[in-house]
Amino acid sequence: MKAFEYAAPRSEQEALEFLSADRGRTEVLAGGTDLLGLMKKLIVTPDRVVSLRQVGSLHTIDADSQGLRVGAMVTLEELLDHPASAQYPAVQQAIRSISSQQLQSQGTLGGELCQRPRCWYFRDGHGLLAESGTAIAEGDNRYHAIFGNSGPAKFVCPSRLAPALIALGARVRVIGPNAEDETVMPLEHLFRTPKHDQQREHSLAPDQIVAQILLPPVGERGNASYEVRHGAGPEYPLVAAAATIVAIGGVVSEARIVLGQVAPTPWISAEAAASIISLPVNEETAGAAGDAAVSVATPLSHNEYKVQLVRVAVKRALLLAAGLETGGF
């Protein structure tokens, strides 16, 4: 690890003052479960680390008729245990699936969304775009993207909560050095597919931070997450799907289906959602939604199996959201 300055601000404003506008000069420390490893491997080499631990406003959960307002420094465990999170089984299931006491109690919501990709070429120092995507395309891409991978970015977004939160219509409050930088935007806008190595996979400027996540009330929506996991450990799932549905008179009137671990961003599957509209949710229609989801898949040389896994994850997430048996383990 390179030597660095450590800043421990006590307010949002103070935190922002410590951050540099130059990419890579400063890094934000939340729970540290990802940043420390990246720094030890010299993948990121900040001159200054800005800890948000003592910024009190980032640690609160407020629940009211507008929904849930969760500070970026709230730990996954705190969110899971909060009474208001019971209306969002999709979120609870995603947190429980992380199945590591350490990650749940140390990891934060903001950090979970802003963690860096697990791509082994990135983690081995070949850059986020793995030297313009060739290393991944010609190499071992078994865990890489099967959607949105035509450019150099072929890694997958590692966040396990983003699919559920985006499916639920979460927004994110982002703050920056100037008052006018503050913005509230749909969570999916936090993620982007970088086109060149100067871009990161988040739309945040280097001196911006995620402050809160705003979750609308769940209302009539059934919601669920389903991860296909290789083993019971804290390893990242092979694929994941989150679904929210509104069913009136037994047929679906609204649906949102978001996939995880399959694209450089959380992947909103309009195809899957469209296919289930005006239909009841059952094994057959949910399966068809899975088929629709993968109709635009473009697997790489070693990850075609993920196409099948997406089919299953979409089907099971929909069945689960409708309160039906999913099958599987």
Partner: protein
């Protein structure tokens, strides 16, 4: 009186064969136990090595000048010179020594390497590609046929094999394999070396306390008497830690040069890249069998890689345990740009088992027979201990409820997408001891100590020695103070090949009985009885038939006078020895559930029935088997070394990326030790390796039974299962 070196009968033991906690269990659980990585002498400097980023290249230059200038760095040095060839990614090219981890990390980052890239080959599974790249050695092999040619028929072998296949009731052809895995020792390889006043103390993480000191002598230009290798506890070796290794001797040289203690442990990725891997193995197998599934002809060609220079899985484990009278086997060694393989728990047996006992199960599948019956009938083709296998199969089948759960391959009931299946495999191992020494001291105040340059791999060497001596002297286990872990003690065996328990049991029982004979003599003189009439039991040396006639152990020891009684133990395992023996069987049966839609395999129940001669400590013996089963599940369902096909980079050389099972992946484990009088009479036999051999084949067979489709290559990951199912459909 001639001492008879035997074990007491089962009904006359006091502690032998019981279930005992480890004597060092508390120290290990509380963190009081110091592993090599925990040794931090005052003034210690930290060293870390730099691995070459390329899998095959020639060094043009390694420039350490900038690294030397980093604040806190004492020394930065190239370990390779221009022109040297690097043959695997991660080979150590430089080392940096500094005051802090940060300084060393910055120093490493400042080293500039310039390399001329050479052609890389790592596609070990593709034999044709290996041949095209000139990375396949000439094949070797063996043919064994019952019939002999009647005349000078040069094509007899082919014709005879063809005839046998033609006459077979069933012919099965398949492709099987098992990918390379690493040792993944939780404590990486390395040492803390402390050079003081011309002498070296090396705190080395080693399976070989007795044999490594001399390896430091040459590089340090001293003799072995000035060297002590110390290792009280080791965080995993599995066959990869027998040598001081180049980084061990380098650490010692640096300590001498800088005149300060130096710690050099490998980083996790360098550990996986350099310090131990198990060769892969892939095989095309063709089997002919009669209509009952008894194999009549075996024909296989397997290939594997042990790295650039290492050997492959040898021919003699194909076929494994079940060897029909007629067979032809061929092996090809493939050279890849990977580090040399090292012995991995039961070297070559897990691969042999995974490549052949799967094929045998496919015979059962093709004939629609019960796998149990086919394995049982094929015991006619097992050279040793066929009766033991049969008995162990019976016990295992009962424990897993085989009969009730069995269904023909692929014909079981499905619950939605979930299907279940049963599979089994059998294995063998040696586990005999080697000549080892020890010193036993009995003090006039009753204290008992033992000394041997053995080591505890975590499995309970100290406890085994304490039990052996406690039984011998009629004392509680806690009364024996066991000293191991220093090369200054009497030489003992390394811990590999399951030889430790037989070795230390021989030496300590031998020495213990000799010491006891002397103690009995003293007591006999005092009590004016025959020494032969005495026994050591319940803390006394007393008359065999009249317990009131005797002395307490302490009183007896007071007869020694001023000095302790010192007796050397010399265990020499031999076929004549009644204390130890070699050769075990073992049967394992697995029950799995498979999700046909996702390819996810889950362990439901896993049964191991294992013989090991005479059991010294039941609890640690069972623990060994549990551990082996879990390690076997890892290799069957999770672990594999993943290399970039083009650059040869080791992609998952981190704990976060190298998949291993967790408790939730293990299912129910059932261990049954098979120790009838006939086995117990054979004496002590090592146990470390055998139970890790069968899991791959047993689990693969269970998955095949569930799916009705053979997923030929381990590990059975969701990708592997789904890719196989898809290929099958196509």
């Amino acid at each position: 009186m001639a001492v008879e070196y035997t074990w007491p009968p089962r009904d006359q033991t006091s502690v032998l064969g019981g279930s005992h906690n480890k004597v060092d269990g508390t120290a290990k659980c509380t963190g009081a136990a110091k592993y090599s990585y925990d040794i931090n002498p005052d003034q210690m400097l930290l060293a870390r090595a730099l691995g070459c980023p390329h899998a095959h290249c020639k060094i043009k230059s390694i420039d350490t000048s900038a690294a030397s200038k980093v604040k806190g760095v004492h020394l930065a040095r190239a370990l390779k010179k221009p022109g040297d060839e690097i043959r695997w990614q991660g080979d150590l090219v430089a080392v940096v020594v500094g005051e802090t981890e940060g300084a060393v990390a910055e120093g490493l980052a400042a080293i500039k390497g310039d390399y001329e890239l050479l052609e890389v080959f790592v596609n070990e599974e593709d034999l044709k590609a290996a041949e095209a790249a000139k990375r396949a050695d000439k094949s070797g092999g063996k043919v064994q046929l019952q019939n002999e040619p009647e005349d000078e028929n040069k094509d007899f072998e082919n014709q005879e094999i063809e005839r046998l296949f033609k006459e077979a009731a069933v012919v099965v052809e398949g492709y099987y394999g098992i990918r390379a895995i690493t040792h993944m020792c939780l404590e990486p390889h390395g040492s803390t070396c402390d050079w003081r006043d011309g002498k070296l103390t090396a705190h080395l993480s080693t399976q070989n306390v007795s044999g490594t000191a001399g390896q430091f002598a040459g590089p340090l230009k001293i003799t072995t008497d000035d060297i002590t290798v110390h290792c009280d506890y080791i965080g995993g070796g599995f066959g990869s830690k027998f040598s001081a290794d180049s980084w061990g001797t380098k650490c010692a040289e640096l300590s001498k040069e800088l005149n300060r203690p130096v710690k050099l442990m490998l980083d996790r990725d360098l550990e996986l890249k350099n310090a131990g891997n198990r060769p892969s193995g892939f095989a095309n197998v063709k089997i002919g069998a009669d209509d009952q599934g008894v194999i009549t002809i075996w024909d296989s060609h397997h290939w594997s890689t042990g790295g650039f220079g290492g050997g492959s899985v040898p021919q003699d484990v194909m076929p494994y345990v079940i060897v029909p009278p007629n067979f032809r086997r061929r092996v090809t060694n493939v050279k890849t740009n990977t580090a040399a393989a090292r012995a991995w728990r039961a070297p070559n047996h897990p691969q042999g088992s995974a490549m052949s006992q799967t094929a045998i199960d496919d015979v059962a599948a093709k004939l629609g027979l019960d796998s149990y019956d086919v394995f049982l009938r094929n015991l006619v083709n097992v050279k040793d201990r066929g009766d033991v296998y049969a008995e162990e199969m019976k016990i295992a089948a009962k424990l897993i409820d085989w009969k009730a759960k069995w269904h023909p391959h692929g014909k079981g009931p499905a619950q939605g997408s979930i299907v279940t299946g049963l599979g089994m495999a059998i294995h063998t191992w040696g586990g005999g001891g080697v000549p080892s020494g020890c010193l036993i001291k009995i003090h006039p105040d009753g204290g008992v100590e033992s000394f041997a340059a053995s080591q505890d791999l975590g499995t309970g060497t100290r406890t085994v020695i304490a039990i052996v001596l406690a039984e011998t002297f009629g004392l509680p286990v806690s009364a024996i103070k066991v000293n191991i872990g220093s090369s200054k003690l009497p030489a003992s065996s390394p811990s590999g090949g399951s030889i430790t328990v037989a070795s230390v049991s021989e030496s300590h029982r031998h020495g213990g009985l000799d010491a006891l004979a002397q103690m009995k003599k003293l007591v006999a003189e005092k009590l004016k009885v025959e020494a032969d009439s005495l026994v050591a039991k319940d803390g006394r040396i007393r008359d065999k038939s009249d317990p009131s006639k005797g002395l307490s152990w302490k009183e007896a020891c007071s007869l020694l006078g001023m000095n302790a009684l010192e007796v050397k133990g010399r265990g020499a395992p031999s076929p004549k020895s009644k204390l130890s023996s070699s050769g075990v069987a073992g049967v394992q049966m697995a029950e799995v559930a498979v999700d046909r839609e996702t390819g996810v395999v889950k362990m439901k129940k896993f049964v191991a029935v294992q013989d090991m001669g005479l059991v010294v400590n039941r609890k640690t013996a069972e623990s060994q088997i549990y551990g082996a089963m879990i390690m076997g599940i890892a290799g069957a369902l999770f672990e594999e070394r993943i290399l970039d096909p083009k650059t040869g980079a080791f992609l998952n050389a981190e704990i976060a990326d190298y998949r291993l099972p967790r408790l939730g992946d293990i299912g129910e484990l059932v261990v049954e030790i098979y120790e009838p009088d006939s086995e117990r009479a054979r004496g002590v036999i090592g146990l470390g390796e055998p139970p890790v051999i069968s899991p791959g084949a047993a689990i693969s067979n269970a998955v095949c039974n569930a799916l009705g489709v053979r997923v030929g290559v381990l590990p059975l990951t969701p990708k592997q299962v789904l890719d196989t199912l898809k290929a099958r459909k196509a």
